[in-house]
Amino acid sequence: AQRVTQPEKLLSVFKGAPVELKCNYSYSGSPELFWYVQYSRQRLQLLLRHISRESIKGFTADLNKGETSFHLKKPFAQEEDSAMYYCALSGISGNTPLVFGKGTRLSVIA
């Protein structure tokens, strides 16, 4: 069964501190992993996808197939990073719906 687990409902960090949002997944095939972010009063938007191996707004995420994890990291948190973060997966063949984790609310304290 496909499942995405985000163990932390809320994560609070001080500005300038490192951030790690945890995501573990369960999938029988080869998944595509995504991080979506929802800022206050804004729509859900794509932050990054593992297949691109890019850094967006200072965030990176590496797919670890051995640990079935796709943790989101940023070395120095900023106040504007405060938002709801969702980890999601889909089948690698495309045209498949996303399975979302429950989300982690990141609060960056000044």
């Binding site: 595509e32 979506y36 729509r43 938007q45 969702y86 045209n95």
Partner: protein
């Protein structure tokens, strides 16, 4: 990417009535998805809507309760029928582009009294 709009953005409805939510995309897409986000919860897929075929519903969702139309490659509607307070939720449509990435509409916030 894709620009997606939804109507209405929010509504307050009486129980027993129905509401149709529209989703419009600025480009032709094959796959459109409808999700629900209940208060304090994550997103749950309701159904996948392909143009020219019946929508495919996920477990726990049925066509009589959530009929979907997909008349062309840029538009879809989701109807929430015979509403009850448990249907109070945010309903989102999303599309998958050629980049195999999903983009989301702004959502429709529904409150059923």
């Amino acid at each position: 990417s894709a620009v997606i709009s939804q109507k209405p953005s929010r509504d307050i409805c009486q129980r027993g009535t129905s509401l149709t939510i529209q989703c419009q995309v600025d480009s032709q897409v094959t796959m459109m998805f409808w999700y629900r986000q209940q208060p304090g919860q994550s997103l749950t897929l309701i159904a996948t809507a392909n143009q020219g075929s019946e929508a495919t519903y996920e477990s726990g969702f049925v066509i009589d309760k959530f009929p979907i139309s997909r008349p062309n490659l840029t538009f879809s509607t989701l109807t929430v029928s015979n509403m009850s307070p448990e249907d109070s939720s945010i309903y989102l449509c999303s599309v998958e582009t050629g980049e195999e990435t999903q983009y989301f509409g702004p959502g429709t916030r529904l409150l059923v009294l």
